[in-house]
Amino acid sequence: MTSAEGVAAVRVPAEAERGRSGAGVRRSLVSRLAARAGGGAARFFLIVVGLVWLTPTVGLLLSSLRDPADVGISGWWKVFGDPGQLTFDSYGDLLSNEAITDSLWTTAAITVPATALVVLVGALAGYAFACMDFPGRDGWFLVVVGLLVVPVQIALIPVAKLFGEIGIFESTTGVVLFHTAFGLPFAIFLLRNFFAEIPRELLEAARLDGAGELRLFFRVVLPLGGPAIASLAIFQFLWVWNDMLVALIFADSGNPPITVALQQQVRQFGNNIDVLGPGAFISMVVPLAVFFAFQRQFVSGVMAGAVK
């Protein structure tokens, strides 16, 4: 896990183990009994909270698996009494709905380039900040740090105007560029810090072997940056995939990403639940798969302090 300690500004976790065994202290019977009772209460509390946390998602999931006619008249919990109600019909309908499948492709066509670009551009700059020397380097880096918390809202009006003038307003290109730009401060920050730890000897050895700057970057720096790049990529991927605001403004309204396509149905929530339920789940499949597959990297990305 990358920077748990960093964020926490407390010391490194390894001490935990030492503490546990080191305190081979006899505790009074009363306090041990109290602890056991407390443990029972804690367990109960956590189970209840866990169920509460799961309920909203399970509710929508079961709703999306019922016949829309049933959803209209009774709650999703009725499924438990009558599992025969479950059907994939809504999903089938949705996946044969071209507007929805197109919007999923649009989402992918935005997310993949926006992630790749942020990694590439961020790594180039991060490497320059970490390993090269140029006038005002530290000052420029502080500017990047300052930009970490700039809200995207500040750029909506100006960038819409700018994109309008160069003809990429309401286009996938525009959305990709916007996400890349606002992903960059964190990308540069994270990667610079990571690259700064690469042993100089390694880079110099590669140089002595005759590697040019680009070759050095692609063959040595990028592979060494693997863990940080993975965190960054997963983070950016999830952010862009899940974004609605930027897409709402900058994406082609005739061919919007899934978030916007679904948002357009929300006004008639009650009537559109047969689209919104399965639609929400289909839009969640990819982020959840990424989340489960790369939990560690996701957590370290979170910890490293993505600031948007």
Binding site: S3, G6, V7, A8, V10, P13, G19, A23, S31, A34, L46, W53, L54, T55, P56, L60, G75, L124, A125, M132, D133, F134, V144, V145, L147, L148, I154, A155, L156, I157, P158, L162, N193, A196, E197, R200, E204, R207, E213, F217, A228, W239, W241, N242, M244, L248, Q263, V266, F269, G277, A280, F281, S283, M284, P287, L288, V302, M303, G305, V307
Partner: protein, 464 residues
């Protein structure tokens, strides 16, 4: 999604391996560095090339817009007339925007504190159970989904109809546990049945009841779902010394039933309260059985039969979660659902580094678990808690998607927040980009302290 995360504290990525912190490494290489070359001997223009794409993007899409928004915020809706600070004044005087400012304030105070408090509790408790990791996964998972999906999920949770929205289903169940639920809302006799209706919704049979002949009380208008599972009604048998009768749903599916006659297959109305009233006093009361029959004691003979209005009142329908007064708290709850996991994970990481000796020492000294938590754990975690709070505050400041999705059109104004108003002012229903720009500048100004804090921190770290 989760656009944000550790806002407050921009923090170095990987932990430096011991004895190899960056300044040292750089110093070693520095000795060999030529004047006009980079550390590794590459010409300076190479550094420029490496930085160029980032600088272009950041310059055009982040830095320039800050300047433009600032400039634009001093002009009117059309962008031609200079209006000075009028747009800012409007932000604080216009009714709709003031609601947004007020709601944002509630958001910034409540949402981060609740999420952090829950995160702290979860982090501490999950350390003590074996399946803590599974629990953490459940609570952390909502962070991976979009606010749009979370919004749809919670729209369903908050549906008004207790037969659809789980929040009201629970509220109504709890309510009805303590107060009787009217068995047949809307049911009533046919006008020609001749029952008197009083102001409180009760129906009274005008003639006095007698012990010998069972009374027939036909009703119509019951909701289908209240009747669907009912048994067939049975005619009450006369019992010596008792007053009996049947209350039933006088309606034959598919038609063909006769009015006022207990046709075969007509449904019983079970659970209806029946009272015998003499001179305005209730002398006896009973509840109908599953076949619709009731039995009153003989003392009821000669009294009038009354069906109290409680039987037919509209049932308690739960809370109007997305109504004007509760819409903001309801949306905040959905935010907490998404972000408590974030707080929990960061706090758990901090907790793992709290020296166990300190906790054990406190326990040995006789401190209770609560005291250990309050006096040792929390103070040790203070820096982490601060980071989590600040991060969530920055995130909440810009809350948009959840409000936009969950608040229905009718109460969206009551749920208004700055980022939503900014969107409406810039691209939505009431376009005035001057005001939109002013709001965006206001949002930026609010994060400036964090920005400066981050810069100072990094500067200090690098000097070390």
């Amino acid at each position: 999604m989760s656009t944000a995360t550790a806002g407050g504290a921009a923090v170095p990525g990987p932990p430096p391996p011991e004895g190899q912190s960056s300044p040292k490494g750089r110093g070693a290489a520095g000795g060999r560095r030529g004047r006009k070359t980079t550390i590794l001997g590459a010409p300076r223009w190479v550094a420029g090339l490496f930085l160029l794409p980032a600088l272009l993007l950041l310059g055009a899409l982040v830095v320039y817009p800050i300047g433009y928004s600032l400039w634009r915020s001093f002009f009117d809706a059309s962008g031609d007339g200079f209006v000075g600070l009028d747009n800012y004044q409007e932000v604080f005087s216009d009714g709709a925007i003031r609601t947004a400012v007020k709601n944002n304030l509630i958001w910034v105070i409540v949402a981060p504190s609740v999420a952090t408090a829950l995160g702290l509790i979860f982090a501490v408790l999950t350390e003590r159970v074996r399946w803590g990791t599974a629990f953490r996964l459940v609570v952390f998972m909502p962070m991976a989904i979009s606010m749009l999906a979370a919004g749809i999920i919670f729209r369903l949770v908050y549906e008004q109809d207790p037969e659809r929205g789980v929040a009201n289903a629970i509220t109504v169940t709890v309510h009805d546990t303590f107060a009787d639920r009217p068995p047949f809302p809307g049911a009533h006799p046919r006008p020609e049945a001749g029952l008197d209706e009083s102001a409180d919704g009760s129906y009274t049979v005008p003639s006095a009841v007698s012990a010998d002949s069972p009374q027939l009380v036909p009703l119509v208008g019951a909701k289908r779902r209240d009747v669907s599972g009912a048994a067939d009604a049975a005619a009450a048998r006369p019992e010596p010394g008792k007053v009996t009768g049947t209350v039933w749903f006088d309606f034959t599916r598919g038609g063909g039933g006769r009015h006022g006659v207990l046709d075969p297959g007509e449904k019983a109305l079970a659970g209806v309260t029946v009272q015998a009233v003499r001179d305005g006093e209730v002398v006896a009361s009973a509840t109908t059985r599953s076949d619709g029959t009731y039995t009153l004691p003989g003392s009821a003979a000669g009294a009038q039969l009354r069906l109290p209005g409680d039987n037919f009142d509209e049932p308690y329908n739960g809370v109007d979660w997305l109504g004007p007064s509760l819409v903001t708290p309801a949306i905040i709850a959905s935010y907490v659902w998404m972000w408590a996991g974030f707080a929990m994970v960061l706090i758990a990481a901090g907790l793992a580094s709290v020296p166990r000796e300190l906790l054990e020492a406190a326990r040995v000294d006789g401190a209770s678990e609560w005291q250990v938590f309050r006096r040792v754990t929390v103070p040790l975690l203070a820096p982490v808690l601060a980071v989590v709070m600040v991060t969530l505050m920055i995130n909440v400041l810009k809350i948009f998607d959840l409000v936009y999705i969950i608040a229905p059109g009718t109460t969206q104004d009551d749920a208004n927040v700055l980022a939503l108003q900014l969107f409406q002012s810039s691209f939505g229903t009431d376009v005035n980009q001057g005001v939109g720009s002013a709001i965006s500048v206001f949002l930026l100004v609010l994060v400036v302290p964090v920005m400066l804090f981050n810069i100072r921190r990094i500067r200090r770290e690098r000097r070390r």
